[in-house]
C-alpha cells in the first residue's frame, strides 16, 4: 500500500469523534480505573465487555484519559488476540487448536465446524450468529477435544454434540 504525500495534515479535531453512547462507556471505564495508565488493558477489556468491541474512534479518548498516546493504545489492542476492533457475532465459538485436542481429532473437528457454520476460524457467519476463533488450550485437555462458546466450556466434543451447540447458537438471540 502506498500512502501518498499529503498536502495538509488533517488534525484530530477535524476527524470524526465517538458517538455519545459509546463515549460515555469510555468515560465510565476510565473513571472506574482511576485514569491509571497501567490499567490500560483492564480499561480495554471493560469497554469491550460493554460495547462488544473497541471502536477505532475510542482510542483517542482512551489515550487522553490515561495520559498515553494513541499509538500506544493501538499497539496494545493489536497485540492481544482477545481484543477486537470490529463487532463479533452474537456468539463466539472458540475451537481449541492445541496439541491435546490435535491428538483427539481436533483438526477434523475444526474442519467440521467450519463446514457446518460456513466460515473459517477468525471469521463471522453471514447471519452474524457465530464468530469462530482459534484458541490455544482451554485447560480441558483431560477430555479433549474442547471448545468454548461464549463462556461455556464443552469437552469431549463430538460432531453430534457440536452440531447441537451450533444449532442452539443460531436460533438463540
Amino acid at each position: 500500500m502506498i500512502r501518498d504525500r499529503i498536502v495538509r495534515k488533517r488534525h484530530l479535531s477535524e476527524r470524526p469523534s465517538l458517538p455519545a453512547a459509546q463515549a460515555s462507556v469510555v468515560v465510565e471505564a476510565l473513571a472506574a480505573n482511576h485514569h491509571d495508565p497501567t490499567r490500560l488493558l483492564v480499561v480495554l477489556q471493560d469497554i469491550q465487555r460493554r460495547l462488544g468491541y473497541l471502536p477505532h474512534d475510542a482510542v483517542h479518548p482512551i489515550a487522553i484519559g490515561l495520559g498515553l498516546s494513541r499509538a500506544e493504545v493501538h499497539g496494545v489492542i493489536s497485540f492481544y488476540h482477545d481484543l477486537r476492533t470490529e463487532p463479533a457475532g452474537r456468539h463466539i465459538l472458540k475451537v481449541c487448536q492445541a496439541e491435546s485436542c490435535q491428538a483427539t481429532g481436533g483438526r477434523a473437528l475444526t474442519q467440521h465446524i467450519e463446514d457446518v457454520v460456513g466460515c473459517n476460524l477468525g471469521q463471522t457467519t453471514a447471519d452474524g450468529a457465530i464468530t469462530l476463533e482459534a484458541v490455544y488450550c482451554l485447560g480441558l485437555c483431560a477430555a479433549s477435544p474442547a471448545v468454548m462458546i461464549d463462556e461455556r466450556p464443552i469437552a469431549r466434543v463430538t460432531t453430534a454434540r457440536i452440531d447441537r451447540v451450533i444449532d442452539d447458537a443460531r436460533t438463540a438471540s
Binding site: I6, R8, K9, S13, E14, A63, G67, L68
Partner: protein, 702 residues
C-alpha cells in the same frame, strides 16, 4: 534507484531557529545541502532535533530570495538592482544627508536576533561609530527585554542560570507562560524525559497546552489563570511561601539582602495576596495555588522555566522579578537542578541582549552613561562616543510619526508584521526618508524600504550564536551567500560607507574585539569554541572554558535583591463589547513571522493561523469547527478560522502569529511593559463573530 545520495561533505553548525541552538551537521553533495542531521556532540541537543532545524532548510534556496542589492527613491518606485558599492554609497549618503538636515539623532538602527553575535555587535558599532549616536535597539525588545530587566534587578544577570541538561537533576519543574514542546521542542523533549524519570511538573498557563498534558507527561498542578493575572498569581504563590514559612531562611540570610526580603515578605504576605482572595480573581482554585507553592518550595531541587507568557505583559518585568524573588526565597538557585531560566524565542536572543544592541547599554549590560565603560570602547574604536542613551525602537517609531526621525537601518527584522500596532509602524516607516532593510526576502517591511540589502542566511555565513543557556556555538558557512556577502560584511560595508574605516578578515576578529571589550566574553575565541565545541558565558580567567551554572557562590550584584512586585491590573479589560481575552503563542512547525518556515514544506502541518476557542464560547456564538470568524479588539480586527478546543477555558481565545496575511498584531493592544516597552501581546480583549464573506483586515483609528 533506491540508493540514497551519499553526502560528500559534512559541516558542523548551529541551528538558527529557536533559542535552543541545536548543533547540526550540514551534509552537502556537490555544494548543495542534501540534509541536516543533529550533531551528537551538540551540548544543547545531544543528537536530537525538531522539524524546523532538521528539515526546514529549503528556505535558503527559495526563489523569493533577494539576490541583488536594490535601491529606489520612493517606495512607490520599482526596485533598481545595483552593485554593493552603489547600494552602500547610496544608503550612507542618504543617512548622512538626513543627519545633516534633521540632526544626528534622526537616524538609527535595529539589529536582529537571527544574526550572529558578531553581526549584532557590528550593528551597534555601526550606530555608535557610523551614526555617532546610540539609536540602536534589537528585536528582543518585543520578547525578552523584561527578562533582562527583571533578572538583572533581582539576581544581577539577565540570563538563564542553568544549562539545559540541569533539568534532569530537577525534582520539581515549574513552567510559567511557556510551551516548550511547541516553542523549544528539543528542550521540551529533555523536560519530558525528566518528567518521565519522576520529576514533578507544575504549569502556570492560561491554556491547557501540550506541556500540561501529553503522553507520559502530565502536570501535577496546572494553574490555568486568566490572562493578565500573572503577577497576582505569582505574588499569591509567594504569599503561601511566606505565610506557611516555606522559604529557605538560611539561604536568604547567606545570599540575599535580608532587609529587602523582609520588605518583600510584608508586601506579598499581605492578605490581599492570599489564595482565597486571588483565586476568584485569577479564575483559580485557591488550593491549587497553595499546592503549587508547596510543591515548588519542597523541592529538593525546583527549577523555573518561563517564556513570553511572562514577559509580554504590561507587568512583564514585574513578572520576571516575581520569579527571581521566588527562587531566591526558596533557595532554588545556584546549583544543578534549580534556577530561573528564560526560554528564548530566537536563535540568538541571548546574544542580541548581550552584545550591546541597546540604546542605553554596551556589551555585557554596561551603561553608555558610564564614562569608564565608554572609555573602553573609545580606546578600542579610537573615536569619541555619545554618552546620552539613544531611542528605543518604539520611540524611534513615535519620533518618526512625529516627524523628527527619518532614517533606519533594519537588519533581518520585519517590524510591520512582528511589532505591535501595525498601523502605527507603517505610518512611521512611511514618514521616513531612508529605510534600509537587510533581509532574505521581501517582507511586509520592505514595502516601505528605499534600500534593500540581500541578507545571508545562517547557512551562508560564519559566526557565533548564544543560545538560551548562554552557550556560544559556531555558525559555519555551508554554502555561499546568494549575493556574495555575509551579513557581517554588509554591515562592515555600511560602516565604511559612513566614513569610519574598518576591516576584518574574518568574524573571529570581531569576537576577539568583543572579548577585549566585554568581561563576560573575555576568554571567548573561535579557537576555544573549535576546541571544546561550545562555551557558556561567563568565560574568563576564572572560568576558562565557560560556566554551566550561575550564581553558585554569589550573585553578580552581590546580595540577591527582593524586588517589590505589586500587582497592577492591565488597562486591557474585558467588557460587554469585548468579552473574550485573546492570547497568542507559537506552534511547532512554524517559526515566528514564518518568513522561513512558510517557505518550506512545514506548511503541511499548519498552513494558516487558527483561533482556538472553548466549546462554551463557540456554542454561545453559534460557531462550529472550521468557521471563519472576525476577531475584533479596541485596536483593530482580523479574520481567522476557529478550532473548538478543550485547551482553552471559556473566556479565553488563542491564536498563533505565523502568517502575515492574518495580521494578528493588528488586533493586539498598544499597551506595553512599564519598564521596557515590551508589548502586551498576551492580553487583548476581543469579540469573535461569525463571518460569511471574507473581509479584510482593518485598524480602528482611535
Amino acid at each position: 534507484m533506491p540508493i540514497p545520495v551519499k553526502p560528500d561533505q559534512s559541516t558542523i553548525t548551529t541551528c538558527a531557529y529557536c533559542g535552543v541552538g541545536c548543533g547540526f551537521k550540514a551534509e552537502t553533495s556537490g555544494g548543495q545541502i542534501v540534509r541536516m542531521t543533529p550533531w551528537k556532540e551538540g551540548k544543547a541537543n545531544h543528537g536530537h532535533s525538531c522539524v524546523k532545524g532538521r528539515f526546514a532548510f529549503d528556505y535558503y534556496r527559495h526563489p523569493d530570495r533577494v539576490r541583488s542589492p536594490m535601491i529606489r527613491v520612493s517606495i512607490e518606485d520599482p526596485w533598481r538592482e545595483v552593485s554593493w558599492d552603489e547600494a552602500f554609497a547610496h544608503a550612507a549618503g542618504e543617512l548622512k544627508r538626513i543627519q545633516e538636515t534633521y540632526g544626528s539623532g534622526s537616524v538609527g538602527a535595529v539589529s536582529s536576533s537571527r544574526c550572529t553575535n558578531e553581526e549584532i555587535y557590528l550593528m551597534q558599532k555601526f550606530a555608535r561609530v557610523g551614526l555617532r549616536n546610540n539609536n540602536i535597539d534589537n528585536c528582543s525588545r518585543i520578547c525578552h527585554s523584561p527578562t533582562q530587566f527583571g533578572l538583572s534587578a533581582t539576581l544581577g544577570a539577565g540570563a538563564a542560570s542553568q544549562h539545559f541538561d540541569s533539568i534532569l537533576r530537577s525534582d520539581v519543574i515549574l513552567v510559567v507562560g511557556a510551551n516548550p514542546t511547541e516553542g523549544h521542542p528539543v528542550f521540551g523533549s529533555m523536560m519530558k524525559r525528566s518528567v518521565r524519570r519522576g520529576a514533578n511538573l507544575l504549569v502556570i498557563d492560561p491554556r491547557r497546552t501540550e506541556t500540561v498534558d501529553s503522553p507520559h507527561c502530565r502536570a501535577s498542578v496546572h494553574l490555568a489563570l486568566r490572562p493578565g493575572t500573572n503577577v497576582l498569581v505569582l505574588d499569591s504563590i509567594a504569599h503561601v511561601v511566606v505565610t506557611e514559612r516555606l522559604y529557605d531562611e538560611a539561604f536568604v540570610r547567606a545570599r540575599c539582602d535580608w532587609d529587602d526580603f523582609e520588605l518583600w515578605m510584608s508586601q506579598v504576605g499581605d492578605a490581599r495576596y492570599s489564595p482565597d482572595v486571588v483565586g476568584p480573581e485569577a479564575g483559580l482554585e485557591p488550593d491549587d495555588i497553595r499546592e503549587l507553592a508547596r510543591r515548588y518550595a519542597a523541592g529538593p531541587n525546583s527549577t523555573i522555566y518561563y517564556g513570553l507568557g511572562v514577559t509580554e505583559h504590561s507587568q512583564g518585568s514585574t513578572g520576571v522579578m516575581c520569579l527571581g524573588n521566588l527562587a531566591m526565597a526558596c533557595g532554588m538557585i545556584g546549583r544543578e537542578g534549580v534556577g530561573v531560566n528564560p526560554l528564548r524565542g530566537q536563535g540568538n536572543v541571548q546574544g542580541g541582549s548581550c552584545l550591546g544592541s541597546w540604546p542605553h547599554m554596551f556589551t555585557g549590560y554596561r551603561f553608555v552613561t558610564d564614562a569608564a565603560t565608554r572609555a573602553v570602547f573609545e580606546n578600542e574604536w579610537k573615536i569619541d562616543l555619545d554618552g546620552e542613551p539613544g531611542l528605543r525602537l518604539p520611540n524611534m517609531f513615535d519620533a518618526a510619526v512625529a516627524g523628527s526621525f527619518k532614517g533606519l537601518y533594519i537588519q533581518g527584522e520585519d517590524p510591520v508584521q512582528s511589532d505591535p500596532n501595525r498601523h502605527h509602524v507603517e505610518a512611521a516607516l512611511r514618514n521616513m526618508e531612508c529605510v534600509i532593510v537587510q533581509d532574505l526576502y521581501e517582507t511586509e517591511t520592505t514595502k516601505f524600504a528605499h534600500v534593500l540589502l540581500p541578507g545571508s542566511s545562517s547557512l551562508e555565513k560564519n559566526g557565533t550564536f548564544t543560545n538560551a543557556e548562554r552557550r556560544v556555538s559556531m555558525v559555519r558557512k555551508i554554502v555561499e551567500p546568494v549575493a556574495g556577502l555575509e551579513d557581517w560584511e554588509i554591515t562592515v560595508g555600511m560602516i565604511n560607507a559612513m566614513g569610519y574605516e574598518l576591516k576584518y578578515d574574518h568574524p573571529s576578529e570581531v569576537l576577539d574585539e568583543i572579548a577585549r571589550t566585554s568581561p563576560a566574553y573575555s576568554g571567548m575565541s573561535f579557537e576555544l569554541i573549535e576546541r571544546v565545541g561550545s562555551v557558556q558565558w561567563p568565560c574568563n580567567t576564572a572560568a576558562p572554558e565557560g560556566t554551566e551554572v550561575l550564581h553558585t557562590v554569589t550573585f553578580p550584584r552581590g546580595k540577591g535583591s527582593f524586588m517589590l512586585t505589586e500587582y497592577v491590573p492591565t488597562k486591557e479589560r474585558v467588557d460587554d463589547r469585548f468579552p473574550l481575552l485573546l492570547t497568542t503563542g507559537r506552534i511547532l512547525s512554524q517559526y515566528n513571522a514564518g518568513t522561513q518556515t512558510r517557505r518550506t514544506a512545514n506548511n503541511a502541518w499548519y498552513d494558516d493561523d487558527v483561533l482556538d476557542i472553548s466549546a462554551d464560547d463557540a456554542a454561545q456564538r453559534g460557531l462550529r469547527n472550521g468557521d471563519r470568524v472576525r476577531v475584533a479588539s479596541r485596536y483593530g480586527e482580523t479574520e481567522l478560522s476557529i478550532t473548538v478546543s478543550g485547551r482553552v477555558h471559556p473566556g479565553v481565545v488563542y491564536t498563533t502569529f505565523h502568517f502575515a496575511h492574518t495580521m494578528v498584531n493588528a488586533v493586539t493592544s498598544d499597551l506595553n511593559d512599564w519598564a521596557t516597552n515590551c508589548p502586551e501581546y498576551k492580553v487583548t480583549a476581543v469579540e469573535v463573530t461569525k463571518v460569511t464573506k471574507v473581509g479584510k483586515v482593518t485598524k480602528v483609528t482611535s
